[in-house]
């Protein structure tokens, strides 16, 4: 009887098929080493280093200390006690910078949209799997979008792509979110909307409601995150790198008018603020001026951050360039399908571009030579000196490593830029230093130079080859991704 029991149990356990040991080998690369953290030195030895901003270094060594690069070169000596990473036969590049990334690295659960005191830091989720996927294709820094209206998430978000009536089908009278639903409905249908107590559908009053006027300029929010998988420290880099605007909010007479008004208000406020400071400095008392616009608009006027807006046709691009010249702010155009038609105008205004070489847009009838997309735009922009960064066809990260339309195809876009005639150097810069400059972080990231953040990739081939995988990704001087251990991308040796 006893043996029977034992066999039975053994069978049960076999069913569990527990593989505790390999599992622990596959533990996070985030596992900190057991040594005290005092001045640990990491040395990447023997790699073919593409510095991006300087010359290529063959068989070079990079020393990393305290999250920063402390030495780069062929004759750098590795100090004793340093942790060595063998990079012989590998290509070493700076981590890629993605300027247009959908929500990632931020928690999906908590947080209420109505809470104005909500802090971005508190919603950081360094265990988001998308961070690993991002690192797997080389992204170490990303400008991540937070949707307008705070960072409330979940099914009832404003811009989750469903019409509001569809969203109400799943109405649950017990949900605490009802206030938020009413708020959303009122935003969409006007202030007189209430919710039906039975079905939860919005009740729109029978009196005709006047059309809502063209909306004043609406802003979106995005934050810059390091893909520091498993570590909160150093993950949040910047809370406003761009002033993001929806193109619709600036089109039409009212849109342009309200935008000009905002800029004028911001400029006036800055003058008032300066004179107020003088008054305070002279020892008198005075009420500080009221801030009429958001901090981002003020930073835009001070030329600390650029405006980022989508514009595709020649006329839209011209409109934006003219506005930026008139009002005196920096401009980053996304989409920019027809920028190749008027590259000199962009170069002259100092406008920068974020685009996708693989995106296709049909030319207008009869204007085949001067409209739509053109594969050679990369060459044209490079020749005329318009800085460009690259983004994928979709800013989501979803396909589990199969390069398709999503962000996992980002390095492929650089390859397509080369196909269109840009030099490899420019194409690589479009993944690294150019977007770093757009984010105002060129002193920290985007190239392999002494003093910069140690965001480094070890690749098993050219960064522009479709066959290349990221083997190791280092973020802030810490190994945050190892392909062989994380195993979200195919693991085999060539």
């Amino acid at each position: 009887m006893k043996t029977k029991t034992a066999t039975f149990f053994g069978f049960l356990i076999a069913c569990f098929n527990v593989s505790a040991l390999p599992a622990q080998d596959a533990a996070k690369p985030a596992e900190p080493s057991k040594k005290p953290p005092t001045k640990e030195i990491l040395a990447i030895v023997g790699g073919d280093i593409i510095t991006v901003t300087r010359e290529r270094i063959r068989g070079g060594t990079i020393l990393i200390e305290g999250g920063k690069i402390t030495a780069v070169g062929q004759d750098v000596k590795v100090p004793e006690g340093a942790t060595k990473i063998d990079a012989v036969g590998k290509t070493v590049t700076p981590g890629f910078v993605a300027v247009d990334v959908g929500r990632m690295g931020l928690a999906t659960g908590g947080g209420s949209s109505s809470d104005r005191n909500a802090k971005v830091f508190d919603t950081l989720d360094p265990f988001d799997r998308n961070l690993s996927l991002g690192l797997g294709i080389g992204i170490t820094t990303a400008c991540v979008e937070i949707r307008a209206g705070g960072f409330g998430f979940g099914r009832r978000g404003v811009s989750d792509g469903f019409p509001i009536t569809e969203r109400f089908l799943g109405f649950d009278p017990d949900l605490e979110e009802n206030d938020a639903i009413v708020e959303t409905a009122q935003r969409d249908y006007g202030p007189f909307v209430s919710l039906c107590k039975c079905c939860g559908l919005p009740i729109i009053p029978t009196e005709p409601i006047e059309n809502t006027p063209e909306a004043p300029a609406t802003q979106q929010k995005s934050v810059v995150l390091k893909m520091s998988y498993g570590k909160l420290e150093g993950m949040l880099v910047s809370e406003s790198a761009f002033l993001d605007m929806t193109p619709g909010s600036m089109s039409g007479a009212l849109g342009e008018y309200s935008w000009r008004e905002q800029i004028a208000k911001a400029k006036k406020y800055l003058l008032d603020q300066a004179s107020h400071e003088k008054v305070i400095a002279s020892g008198k008392k005075e009420q500080p001026p009221r801030k009429p616009v958001s901090d981002e608009v003020l930073r835009l006027v001070k030329r600390e951050i650029p405006l980022r807006i989508a514009a595709n046709t020649v006329s839209d691009i011209r409109d934006q360039i003219n506005l930026s010249k008139e009002l005196g702010y920096k401009l980053v155009l996304t989409g920019a399908a027809e920028a190749w038609v008027i590259p000199e105008e962009l170069a002259e205004a100092g406008t920068e571009v974020v685009y996708t070489p693989r995106r296709r847009r049909a030319p207008r009838f009869g204007e085949e030579q001067t409209s739509g997309t053109w594969i050679e735009m990369s060459r044209v922009l490079e020749k005329t000196g318009v800085p460009f960064a690259l983004t994928a066809l979709s800013n989501a990260m979803s396909l589990d490593g199969i390069a398709g339309r999503d962000l996992s195809s980002l390095p492929l876009e650089a390859a397509f830029a080369v196909r269109g005639g840009a030099s490899e150097k420019t194409a690589l810069a479009a993944l690294t230093i150019t977007p770093a400059k757009m984010l105002g972080l060129e002193k920290r990231i985007g190239s392999i130079e002494v003093g910069k953040d140690a965001d480094i990739l070890l690749l098993d081939g050219s960064p522009l080859d479709y066959r290349t995988y990221v083997e190791t990704a280092i973020v802030n001087g810490r190994v945050a991704y190892k392909r062989a251990e994380v195993r979200i991308l195919p693991v085999y040796s060539k």
């Binding site: 360094p126 265990f127 498993g230 979200i488």
Partner: protein, 413 residues
């Protein structure tokens, strides 16, 4: 007159007998269980063919050569194993809101059963609930708990609350300690993290010190002079390390946020209630000196992979203290009432030390909820809370045969 006297005499006689009989009932016969293999979970270790002598609900003697009094009721437990009653440190009672009759009553949903109790609904997640004030123990089904061998439970709700510690009786349950531990549920968002940060901030050092409770404070009369609210008192105890704080975490990132938020308050002891995978992911930030984990006993997956892993084994290798909550593994808990220790036994058979597993079910949770002086192990003077099993606790087919609380049998299989 002469008729009356015998009557009084008879009455008096009757009373004397009645009182005697009553006394005999009160003076419980002591109970002795012999020939059992006893897992004491104390220094005594395992006692083969041992005797437990129980009197007045307490363990009077335990060991190999215990003299059994003649009057004692004797249970022969040959071939059986006795272990201390299981302590569940996190038995969730969810408090919901009744949309129709808000304000007057509120509905508590306990494991599928809906119970309406008096009292207003909590206005938000940050309102404080003292569970002992708003719970009706007679209306909760304790069968699942007793059937699983749980003899002491810390009842908790999600959100911001003070727990209550109860033990099941034959038909209901009774309160052991109505002033339980401070509980907070923390999510990956500002409001809940602020609650934690404000609570742990010493008064005076930050803006306003601990935030006063958002809801009405139970027991506090308006206009009363002492400014220290019950919640402030609880937080002070946590800050000074006198009482541990139970933090329920919804994902691995929240563990990092919690550790970051509590770095300043070095004395505070935090009990993290999290899934095994989350604990595994955030393990590099866990500190065995100030953190304890409560997790459901089960084989987990390494996050984002198909690899299974024995997290309790992993934690004990890291010398990270942990306790099991049988009820946290909801599905297993309901499905395995007949073999409640099956999940733990699979962990033991895959490398978790037997002793650590026993402790994680009994002594460790007892320590966490502050009842280790009374329960958690089989020692002289402690409550006679124990289980009689028909075999080794960690054999797959073992079932619990009898459950004793304070020497009284409350469940039998």
């Amino acid at each position: 007159m002469c008729n009356l006297n015998p009557l009084i005499q008879r009455l008096a006689m009757f009373l004397v007998f009645a009182i005697l009989a009553e006394n005999q009932c009160f003076a419980q016969r002591s109970l002795a269980i012999r020939n059992a293999k006893i897992e004491t979970v104390s220094k005594a270790g395992v006692i083969e063919d041992g005797v437990i002598l129980v009197r007045d609900g307490k363990i009077e003697a335990i060991g190999k050569d215990v003299k059994i009094p003649l009057a004692a009721q004797v249970i022969d437990a040959k071939g059986k194993t006795i272990m201390p009653g299981i302590v569940d440190p996190y038995y969730v009672v969810t408090v919901g809101r009744d949309a129709q009759s808000a304000g007057e009553t509120r509905t508590i949903v306990v494991r599928g059963q809906t119970i309406t109790v008096p009292g207003g609904p909590p206005s938000s997640s940050t309102s404080f609930t003292k569970i002992s004030d708003s719970i009706d123990l007679d209306n909760i089904d304790w069968k699942a708990a007793t059937r699983s061998g749980i003899t002491t439970l810390q009842l908790v709700v999600s959100g911001y609350a003070q727990s209550v510690i109860v033990q099941p009786t034959v038909k209901s349950a009774q309160i052991v300690n109505q002033d339980g531990k401070l509980l907070v549920s923390v999510t990956n968002s500002t409001p809940s993290l602020e609650l934690l940060r404000n609570g742990l901030r010493a008064p005076g050092s930050g803006p306003g010190g601990p935030r006063p409770p958002a809801g009405a404070t139970p027991g506090a009369t308006p206009g009363a002079t002492p400014p220290v609210s019950p919640t402030q008192k609880l937080w002070t105890e946590v800050r000074e390390g006198k009482s541990s704080l139970f933090v329920n975490l919804n994902n691995a990132a929240t563990i990092l946020h919690c550790v970051a938020a509590t770095k300043e308050s070095k004395q505070a002891k935090l009990v993290f209630i999290a899934s095994g995978s989350d604990l595994f992911e955030a393990s590099s930030d866990l500190d065995p000196k100030s953190h304890v984990a409560i997790l459901p006993p089960r084989i987990d997956f390494v996050p984002n992979t198909r690899d299974r892993i024995n997290i309790p084994k992993f934690l004990s290798e890291k010398e990270m203290p942990f306790a099991f909550s049988l009820s946290l593994g909801q599905n297993e808990f309901r499905a395995q009432l007949d073999t409640p220790l099956f999940a733990v036994s699979s962990l033991v058979h895959n490398g978790l030390s037997r002793q650590r597993a026993l402790e994680a079910l009994t002594m460790m949770p007892a320590k966490l909820i502050g009842v280790d002086g009374e329960v958690g192990s089989l020692e002289v003077g402690k409550k006679a809370n124990f289980l009689i099993l028909d075999g080794d606790p960690f054999a797959a087919t073992t079932s619990i045969q009898r459950v004793f609380v304070e020497g009284k049998q409350i469940d039998e299989n």
